[in-house]
């Protein structure tokens, strides 16, 4: 507990990154322009490492001071993407910035977390009052709404879960839980009938019964289960997975990347990867526990919730445990905006660890 640098979290993340790159190099081969994806991803990782080091070096409390500004910029980007964004797979989620494309919803996760930390940095109570709840609902609600407009169901749910996790940590009174429950039921019912697009409804329905439409929506789940299962104990070998190689998996380099990994490295590989991912999350939880102040705790905890949620959903969906949503697996899935955000997040959590004794 004396070291300044949390070597274990760093090593775990590094190992996950390596596994992720290996898998991506296999998965990308089946995607159009796959060879450039790998070099691009390497550039993003390097950029992310540099930004992560910067995030690590400057005290996290300084970053939190900048939170409102960063948050403002992020919201502007979210509005810009709705106006000028590029549509991929039916979602207007990307901003074309010349040589590269930015997906603002990824850094938004980070800025929302910083914003929440900023909102409650001085808060002394162990439960949130209604004012505080209102503030955080507002801070969360704006980006969630903007992202739903793209529409990007997966990222919106990530943000909501992260925010909910943070609010759970900050403390909610029983009556708030009851109100929230009623509200969620109401909103859920309302959105099912008025807001959900038919394809989203289909997704939820096929989750409960993939055989409902074995050649349509359920097809992806069935094929990814076949991919995972066919890996058996030892896997089919690097770049030898037929399910991914022969394009039975949709989005093998992003949402379904863990199916590629599971197919090629088998249960042995899956056990190793799940262990590393678990170690990463649990280490972040530990850092939350030993953080010096509330904002540090919130940063580490929020990061843990966010990464945990994305891991659980993206690994759970390909084996039919959860409905198919477009949620990438951190450090595995292709995507510059994501990998940079996650690396900055790791830098910040390490920062929280480094400053666990110190005042400003």
């Amino acid at each position: 507990m004396k070291g300044k640098f949390d070597f274990s979290l760093f090593m775990v993340v590094l190992l996950i990154l390596i596994l992720g790159m290996i898998t991506l190099s296999s998965a990308a081969a089946t995607v159009k322009g796959g060879d450039t994806l790998i070099s691009k991803q390497l550039i993003w990782i390097c950029t992310g490492l540099v930004l992560g080091i910067i995030a690590y070096v400057v005290n996290y409390r300084v970053w939190i001071e900048f939170a409102p500004v960063l948050y403002g910029i992020a919201m502007v980007l979210l509005i810009l993407v709705l106006v000028f964004g590029t549509t991929v797979h039916g979602s207007r989620s990307w901003l074309n910035l010349g040589p590269f494309r930015l997906q603002p919803s990824e850094p938004v996760k980070l800025t929302v977390l910083l914003m929440l930390a900023w909102l409650y940095k001085g808060d002394k109570s162990s439960h949130l009052d209604f004012r505080a709840i209102f503030k955080s609902v507002l801070a969360l609600g704006i980006p969630v709404l903007l992202i739903l407009l793209q529409p990007d169901f997966g990222t919106a749910s990530t943000l909501l879960v992260m925010g909910a996790g943070c609010m759970f940590l900050l403390g909610l009174r029983p009556r708030v839980y009851i109100i929230l429950f009623i509200l969620i039921a109401f909103v859920g019912f309302g959105s099912w009938h008025y807001m959900f697009k038919p394809y989203q409804k289909e997704r939820v329905l096929t989750f409960f019964n993939p055989e409902r439409d074995p050649l349509g929506r359920g097809y992806h789940v069935i094929q990814s289960k076949v991919a995972v299962g066919s890996g058996q104990l030892t896997g089919r070998g690097y770049r030898k997975g037929t399910q991914s190689r022969l394009k039975y998996l949709p989005e093998p380099h992003t949402d379904f990347i863990f199916a590629v990994y599971a197919e090629e490295f088998g249960f042995t590989g899956v056990a190793v990867a799940l262990m590393l991912l678990f170690l990463m999350v649990s280490r972040m939880i530990t850092i939350a526990r030993i953080a010096y102040d509330k904002s540090g705790m919130l940063l580490a905890f929020g990061s843990a919730v966010l990464l945990f949620y994305q891991i659980a959903v993206s690994t759970g969906m390909i084996v039919g445990l959860l409905p198919t949503t477009g949620i990438p697996l951190p450090f595995f899935s292709y995507g510059g905006s994501g990998i940079i955000s996650y690396l900055i997040m790791v830098g910040l959590v390490l920062n929280v660890f480094r400053n666990r004794f110190q005042r400003v």
Binding site: Q232, L246, S282, R289
Partner: protein
């Protein structure tokens, strides 16, 4: 440290830690279940996913006639194959329209292959010409689930002429498909069926690896097709054509066989059908039409038609008589009829033949003489001889579907009707009437036995000779056969078959006119029979002719036989 000093935060963090642990455990076990417990099943599923088995059709062996004509050939045709792996039921209507089928029809065609593994494409349209597939090829990008396959399509150049003998091929039944594990067409009739495993090659297969949108990735495994072996049958095309033409509009059959080795030189059954339409997979309508067609063209009368043999049975009765103590010089007087048990059994010649020897009785086909033979020897002496000739049992010809005819016996009658066997039954049997039924192939086989002095041969269409086609040898003295042959020779030179006398051949023969009732309307039907062989010494051909509603044997059957004998006279070398 913040949470250390505030236990409520610490417990919240710990609660979350607990959730994380549970979720990871669930994930761990879920992957364990899928990959370790169910892994091999999914592995198989993945393999099926990626493989398409493309059949490389083998060439079925051709069938040649003895004179070297191709009776069963193949020609290039195109099938439209459906890859059910990439077919979506929602595309049914679009696809049906594209292929020019009713949606229900296409659905039915797909459904009939539900036992075939999904990775094997199945045919939905077949036997298309190049002109028909050209528009399909042009638009194939819009219909990725179907493709054109080039297949050798069975083709019978002579159509109905060899339908019953060469037969035809068709889609295997469920049972056949399971036994052979193939989608290949199999022989359904005739030579095609009996020699199916010789003719049918083994299809090769090219296993190609495809991706989910069915794009070709690579060929994985090639099994070369093995082509089937060609066969030559002993049928002679011109003789076959002649026999068919001679039968004309009569329903009936003509069989020409070698009394030396059992080979069949001609076998015709009329009416016939075009086997080419039956080789198609999707032929239900044609089937219905053929099944209900007049005269039942699918019936091979030569081996499946059972008729009372009439007078053609008399030579055999004569042999039985000789065997039981009669001599060729044994005489009986015919007065036009014979009274037995209070009933008068008539001769066909009302005024009577007078006194006849056995030879004269055969030549003039006198019923009364053979009634007397029957009375003298009794049914018990007749039956063993008839059985040794193969009457009442299948000849064993090498095409399927043969019927055994019927040889009545006293025990059978008692069991069947509860009444005893009367002398009248023996009398009827002796003139080839009553319960006795024979197929034309049995008739020609019987003729061959007389011609070759007692060797029962297995008639066969395959062009082979040898001991394997000898069924048994009848232990009767040669002089008895000679006596019967003298009678049959006399029939031609001065009896009921004089029309055959001027051909420059020493023909022996026996006419027959049998009465029968036809199935549905129970109308009396006259069958015109002829059996015979030539030359008298060391015979080379035996023939049997039957024409339903043909009147007397000499009216219809003899002229037909005459043309066959003439052909034999002019082309003897073809029968070697």
């Amino acid at each position: 440290m913040f949470s250390e000093s505030r236990p409520v935060f610490r417990s919240r963090i710990q609660f979350f830690y607990f959730v994380v642990m549970v979720v990871f455990l669930v994930l761990f076990f879920r992957y364990w279940f899928l990959q370790v417990v169910r892994g091999s099943a999914y592995y198989r599923a993945a393999t099926e996913n990626t493989l398409r088995e493309i059949t490389i059709p083998s060439r079925r062996g051709r069938i040649f006639s003895k004179d070297g004509r191709v009776l069963a050939d193949y020609k290039v045709a195109y099938d439209i194959m459906l890859d059910r792996g990439s077919y979506r039921p929602s595309r049914l209507k679009i696809l049906a329209h594209f292929l020019g089928l009713q949606p229900e029809e296409l659905q039915a065609r797909i459904k009939r292959y539900h036992r075939v593994p999904l990775y094997k494409p199945v045919p939905v349209l077949e036997n298309l010409s190049f002109a028909q597939i050209a528009p399909l090829e042009a638009r194939k990008k819009d219909y990725p689930e179907v493709f054109v396959e080039l297949v050798p399509q069975r083709y019978y150049p002579y159509g109905k002429l060899f339908a019953h003998t060469v037969g035809y091929i068709g889609e295997p039944t469920v049972q056949e498909a399971r036994n052979l594990s193939t989608l290949q067409k199999v022989g359904k009739m005739g030579i095609e069926k009996n020699y199916d495993n010789v003719l049918r090659g083994k299809d090769g297969s090219r296993r190609i690896v495809v991706d989910s949108s069915n794009h070709f990735i690579k060929t994985q495994l090639i099994q070369e097709p093995e082509n089937g072996r060609d066969l030559t049958v002993s049928l002679l095309l011109p003789l076959q054509q002649l026999a068919m033409k001679s039968l004309g509009n009569f329903q009936g059959a003509v069989v020409v066989m070698s009394p030396r080795d059992g080979r069949i030189f001609a076998m015709v059954s009329a009416p016939s059908f075009d086997p080419n339409i039956l080789t198609f997979r999707f032929k239900e309508k044609e089937w219905e039409k053929l099944k209900n067609a007049r005269g039942n063209p699918m019936l091979n009368r030569a081996i499946q038609g059972t008729y009372p043999p009439g007078s053609t049975f008399k030579p055999l009765v004569a042999l039985a008589g000789l065997n039981a103590g009669l001599t060729p010089r044994t005489r009986f007087v015919c007065t036009g009829g014979l009274e037995v048990g209070g009933r008068t059994f008539l001769c066909w010649k009302k005024e009577g033949h007078g006194s006849l020897s056995l030879i004269g009785a055969i030549a003039h086909s006198c019923n009364v003489y053979f009634y007397n033979v029957g009375l003298k020897i009794g049914i018990a002496k007749l039956l063993p001889v008839a059985r040794s000739f193969g009457i009442g049992s299948k000849t064993g010809i090498d095409i399927p579907g043969e019927r055994s005819g019927f040889l009545p016996a006293p025990e059978w009658k008692r069991r069947k009707t509860g009444r005893p066997w009367f002398p009248g039954d023996t009398l009827n049997t002796c003139i080839g009437q009553g319960y006795l039924l024979m197929t034309p192939i049995q008739a020609v086989s019987m003729t061959a036995v007389i011609a070759n002095n007692g060797t029962v041969l297995i008639p066969h269409l395959i062009n082979e000779k040898g001991e394997k086609w000898v069924r048994n040898r009848i232990q009767l003295p040669k002089k008895d056969f000679r006596a019967v042959k003298r009678g049959m020779r006399l029939m031609v030179t001065g009896g009921t078959g004089v029309a055959l006398s001027g051909l420059g051949l020493t023909i022996c023969g026996k006419t027959g006119t049998a009465q029968t009732v036809s199935g549905a309307d129970r109308k009396a039907l006259e069958l015109s029979w002829f059996i015979g062989f030539a030359p008298a010494h060391n015979p080379e051909i035996a023939i049997a002719v039957i024409a339903e509603k043909g009147g007397h044997g000499s009216d219809t059957a003899v002229p037909i036989a005459s043309r066959i004998f003439q052909y034999f006279r002019d082309h003897r070398e073809a029968f070697q």
